[in-house]
């Protein structure tokens, strides 16, 4: 029973991680560097939604316990984060003439600028969206599952977005171009693909999804200027687990990391859960180490299988 509840929680948290990790992996694949500003792009999205929601108020009909304005705020989160990402590409990354390590270091600077500006405007204190707190859905409680309609919105929206991205990548020319460019940027240019445009599209998609992930993170917890940076390493762990540059790997990695993160309580009573294992067996690691365990998994994956669990060999 407990496992089912944790699985449900895991699914909610995974959805947020997946939204972050897809964008990070796309950028890693196409712009070819580890973008340390990706977490703070999520923060930007979250605060854009906060402003929008504040301006619109909670008027309008309510849907899944959320005012209609929230969904507009969600869109604002996508749009603002995407715009900020594109502006950063144009102003900062594009003019640089340094390798991927230089870009990595630059992105740390970008992360600080985002976070510093958010903190200047909104203060370092945490904030909440002006939406009603919900009780868990009654019908599911007997099963040990305590999720609210907000959680359902998070999961469903993420599934829709991920599905849309899948269709985009698999069945549209734009998606094929993006995959082609991640595969072989030189050949992509030679084939006539306008690679600078594809790069911009990548930033729009990656930044936008991060923005939505940030809005949901704010709904799931609270908003604070550090929220994205705090999540960044988990998102990296997901990307590495799935294989850098692989969008589908990032989805899988995000799902697994989210699950591991939320399923920590299970570790200490492994014995009672697994058949054939004595009840007393367990890894005595508390939930306060949830993230630490994810990081250790990430390092282990890097050592054993640097191409990730879904990555191709070689």
């Amino acid at each position: 029973m407990a496992a089912l509840g944790l699985f449900a929680n895991g699914l909610v948290f995974s959805s947020i991680i997946v939204l972050g990790s897809i964008g990070l992996s796309l950028v890693y694949g196409i712009a070819d560097f580890a973008n340390f500003a990706h977490g703070d792009t999520m923060t930007v999205g979250a605060y854009a939604a906060l402003v929008t929601l504040g301006a619109l108020g909670s008027v309008g009909p309510s849907l899944f316990g959320l005012p209609a304005a929230f969904f507009l705020a969600l869109c604002a989160g996508f749009v603002v984060a995407a715009l900020v990402a594109v502006a950063t590409e144009k102003l900062v990354y594009e003019p640089l003439e340094i390798g991927s390590i230089g870009l990595l270091i630059t992105s740390i600077g970008v992360a600080f600028i985002y976070r510093g500006l958010v903190q200047m405007v909104f203060s370092a204190e945490s904030a909440r969206y002006e939406v009603r707190q919900l009780r868990p859905i009654e019908a599911l409680i007997p099963y040990g599952v305590r999720v609210t309609y907000h959680d359902v919105v998070i999961v469903v929206t993420s599934v829709v977005l991920v599905g849309t991205l899948h269709v985009l990548l698999r069945y549209t020319d734009l998606g094929r171009k993006m995959r082609a460019m991640a595969d072989n940027p030189e050949l992509a240019r030679v084939s006539g693909i306008r690679t600078d445009r594809i790069r911009l599209v990548t930033w729009v998609v990656g930044g936008g999804l991060a923005g939505v992930g940030g809005v949901f993170l704010g709904l799931f917890n609270r908003l604070s200027p550090r929220m994205g940076f705090n999540l960044l390493l988990l998102v990296f762990a997901a990307v590495i687990l799935g294989g850098i540059g692989s969008v589908y790997g990032a989805m899988l990695g995000g799902l697994l990391i989210g699950m591991v993160h939320e399923a920590m309580p299970l570790l200490s009573d492994l014995g009672t859960l697994l058949p054939l294992v004595p009840d007393a067996v367990g890894i005595p690691v508390g939930i306060e180490y949830a993230e630490a365990v994810a990081f250790v998994i990430m390092v282990a994956v890097l050592l054993v299988r640097p191409t990730g669990i879904a990555g191709e060999g070689g």
């Binding site: 390590i101 990595l104 630059t106 600077g109 600080f112 600028i113 510093g116 390493l233 990296f236 890097l302």
Partner: protein, 391 residues
Amino acid sequence: MVDIDVDAGPLGEMTATEQGVTAVVVAFGAVLLFGLLSGRLAPTYFLFLVGLAGMYALLSLGLNSQWGFTGLINFSVAAFFGIGAYGAALTTASSSPVAGGFNPAYGLVVALVAATVLALFIGLPTLRLRADYLAIASLGLAEVVRRVVLNERRWTNGNLGVRGIPGFFDGWPVLSTFPEAIPGLRIAVPLGATVELGEPFYRMLLNVLLVTVFVVGSYLLLSRVHRSPWGRVLRTIRADEDLARALGKNTYRFKLQAFVLGSLVMALAGVFYAHLNLFVSPATLEPITTFYVWVAVILGGTGSTRGAVFGGVVVVVLREGTRGLAGLEGIPLDAPSLRLVLIGLLIVLLMRFRPQGVLPPQRELIWPDVVDEAPDRPETGVREARGDGDD
């Protein structure tokens, strides 16, 4: 750079940048002097700043021997700084949950041993990884360390931190009673009110002495090993690891050694911090410290020892300067945000316009010297190599 006039005076030997840096340093020194003389800058606070600058210089020196000499992207600087601070604190503090109250000298030893163990814990698995993975993995493991310090209250007091850390020289002969023994001084400074130099001032003076010893010691050691055959292999690894391997160098071992060495210097900074601040908390291990130090090293010039010291000083100016700036009326900004934005801008602008840093190392690293007067006669060995004025 090659056609430097050897016969010119020390200024003539400098490059334009070096002259610029010298000018800035002199001007900055003049401002500080004015502050001191006018009584606007309390001497004790001034010494505290000097101590902080020394601390950042140490951290930069440590990172420089990893990134600058060897090309290792270590994003776990804060973990080593923290382990140094906690090692010293837990050994010496009255409130230590483990076994406090020891002489700070023991704390120093404990901190260095702990840092070595941690360096092996982080370095052994990650140093085989390619550069960007090493960055992410070391940041991840540093976070693991921070969580442990935060959560293992039995050992670390957790969030509460460790109080009651003695000064480094407490319990030493003469030095422990020096601040009390020296009579207080009242000095009428020429441009302002009288300044009182009492016990706190002398305590701080001792701290500055301590950090000076640490910095000078580390500087001499690192400069020396950098030019040694050992350091030469590190520099070869940085330029072309495969070449070093093909020439029979066990590069993994060299990288591990450089990693441990740098980490020890960082831990030294942590030890100093514990005895300067007399209180440590898990905030010491926040990743932001790591990035401050990165800014210092990149700003100074990757691989440049004097650059690392310069970068460390600039970062302190930036950190403390933003405090002052935000305090001014009419600027409704809080210091931490402003500092973040400024540090961020500094990184972005550096990478855009001067990725090699302000004082890049070409000149100080080339040995035997470019401006060698007798090129056809071999030098006699590394220790006899002439000390050139440029480092």
